[in-house]
């Protein structure tokens, strides 16, 4: 009897050992699967973050290269009293060598270029395949009060304008980079005018659209104030800001993203629902040169498609 009892106890112990081993193996394999899934997710998230950062850096590089030309021109004008013909040639060559630029101006303070000219601002811009020139001297246009002139003049430093429709100037949606220049009048540096280059918003829109397609998501470009410069929904462009969309779409997270980008912070946030689908992610990356921001809205299902 005692042998049978001992055998039963041995079988029971063996079963416990076997079940324990199987349980451990099961926990190990499930854990491994979960770990793999999590790490794959992390890898894919990191991949998208890095990819978007790289695209933001690419735009940043282009913007920095756009800035260089007017900076050089402003420097020349501080030491050299250029003739109109010289200015035109300089501006034309700038456009000729930079396809992303739409136009450029050298806008002088009142009576600074010519003692009889209140307004004096030669402006060179693209018309179809040609480059043409004009003077922004229409009193109704009055460039002294345009953001592209007044803000850098007041700040005494270079600025990017918010996107705007330049009625009476370029007559299209654009963003302008303005560089103030100064002349030494014997006593001190005197503010003398602004050199500008205009970037057509259309050109930027095309670049951002390609990023969205390449990354299987919705790519959005916003300005420093949050204005939508490029987005798959064309009605948003110029009309909405990331902050108005936060209100209209009842997505407070968009306001948080906008605030982060204004501070130059890049990151990732989750969006519960967008376009009637759950589980979206918003990757965002700051473009440091002009404080713009690049956002990629990606649905969960697209995360592993790269």
């Amino acid at each position: 009897m005692s042998n049978i009892k001992n055998l039963k106890q041995d079988i029971f112990r063996l079963m416990i050992v076997v079940i324990s081993i199987m349980g451990c193996l099961l926990i190990f394999f499930v854990g491994k699967l979960v770990y793999k899934a999590i790490s794959k997710k992390e890898i894919m998230i990191e991949y998208h973050q890095n990819k978007l950062s790289a695209e933001a850096r690419r735009i940043n590089t282009i913007i920095e290269s756009v800035q260089k030309t007017p900076q050089d021109l402003a420097y020349i004008l501080e030491f050299h009293n250029a003739e109109l013909s010289e200015m035109k040639i300089l501006m034309e060559s700038v456009l000729f060598n930079n396809e992303e630029l739409y136009g450029g101006a050298i806008a002088y303070e009142p009576y600074m270029f010519h003692k009889d000219s209140l307004y004096y601002s030669p402006y060179v811009y693209r018309r179809g395949d040609t480059i043409v020139s004009t003077n922004l001297n229409d009193p109704e246009y009055n460039y002294f009060y345009k953001d592209w002139y007044l803000i850098p003049k007041t700040l005494k430093k270079s600025t990017w304008s918010e996107p705007y429709y330049d009625e009476g100037g370029g007559n299209l949606f654009m963003s302008t980079y303005s560089v103030p220049f100064f002349k030494f009048d014997g006593n001190k540096e005197k503010f003398s005018g602004i050199v500008t280059v205009d970037v057509s918003i259309e050109w930027i829109m095309n670049a951002v659209e390609s990023i969205g397609k390449m990354m299987n998501g919705r790519a959005i470009l916003i300005s420093e104030n949050g204005t939508i410069i490029s987005a798959p929904n064309k009605n948003w462009i110029y009309n909405e800001t990331i902050f108005t969309l936060a209100t209209e779409l009842n997505l407070p997270v968009l306001r948080e993203i906008g605030k982060d980008l204004q501070k130059g912070i890049s990151g990732l946030r989750e969006i519960n629902e967008f376009e009637n689908q759950k589980n979206w992610r918003a990757f965002y990356s700051s473009i440091h040169a002009n404080k713009w921001g690049l956002i990629l809205l990606l649905h969960e299902s697209q995360l592993y498609k790269q």
Partner: protein, 281 residues
């Protein structure tokens, strides 16, 4: 909405609306006969009248002041006295008399930067303080990422300057020639406002159409904000005034301010300046 919904037509009026803006010199439009009626601020209209333009108020639509001066809290501007030595952006073509008078009254010595419109100069920190309308530019700041708690707000109405704003004006000659036409125009316009306030969705869609035509930024969040503000602006809670009426007390307050600030020496009697329809009923 008065034009859109055929209200003017129902009153027997064929109205063509000329879009406004900072580039339009409204009194010149009236003087040269390019417009029969125009919208002007009460203070600007009184100043214009005092300098010889024979215009008259035939309806007061906005009954209180919505002008504010805003500063970022981080700038340390916490009181009007802190305005001294700061850069302040003010509109160059409208309401200069109010801001200049305000600075004079509070003995503020600041650097005034004249602007056409907008808030970009403030957002870029090129100025410390910016003039805004509560129903418009103030909300633009919110829509550009500024949180209300990041701002210090100075409403002119809190500084004894609660002056009514937009009113309907015409030349005295126009009024004398056909007071009935003027009455109809004001009544139909007020009916249009009533319709807009009662039918916000429809109104916003109509405004959107015009904004698109004019290449003006349009978004629902801002349009709703503006329209929501209108109700209190046309009939402020607690103010005993009939829609469209210019109160003599408001006229006297603005007149007193303009004379004290030395913008004008004298002005016509209330009964000459205000030809509001209600007075003639």
């Amino acid at each position: 909405m008065a034009k859109e919904k055929g209200i003017y037509k129902r009153y027997g009026l064929d109205v063509n609306i000329i879009a406004g803006g900072y580039t339009k010199d409204v009194p010149t439009f009236l003087k040269e006969g390019k417009a029969d009626f125009a919208i002007m601020y009460l203070s600007s209209a009184l100043k214009e009248r005092a300098t010889g333009t024979e215009l008259v108020n035939i309806g007061q639509i906005f009954q209180r002041s919505e002008i504010m001066l805003v500063a970022k809290k981080k700038s340390g501007i916490n009181s009007v006295q802190d305005f001294n030595g700061k850069k302040i952006a003010v509109w160059r073509t409208v309401l200069g008399e109010l801001t200049s008078g305000f600075f004079l009254k509070h003995n503020i010595k600041a650097s005034v930067i004249n602007i056409n419109e907008g808030v970009n100069i403030f957002l870029k920190d090129a100025v410390d303080i910016c003039e805004v309308m509560y129903y418009n530019e103030y909300n633009s700041l919110i829509n550009f990422g500024i949180d209300p708690e990041e701002l210090n707000k100075f409403y002119l109405r809190d500084y004894d300057m609660n002056f009514p704003e937009d009113g309907i004006y015409c030349m005295e000659q126009t009024f004398k020639k056909d007071p009935e036409l003027c009455r109809k125009f004001v009544d139909a316009s007020i009916e249009g406002w009533n319709y807009a306030i009662s039918n916000p969705e429809e109104c916003i869609q109509v405004v959107k159409r015009f904004q698109t035509q004019e290449n003006v930024v349009d978004n629902k969040a801002h349009a709703e904000w503006m329209l929501n503000s209108m109700k209190d602006l046309i009939q402020p809670p607690g103010k005993k005034v009939i829609k469209g009426e210019l109160l003599k007390s408001d006229f006297d307050n603005v007149l007193h301010f303009l004379i004290e600030s030395k913008f004008i020496d004298s002005a016509p009697e209330f009964s000459i300046f205000s030809r509001g329809t209600l007075k003639h009923e």
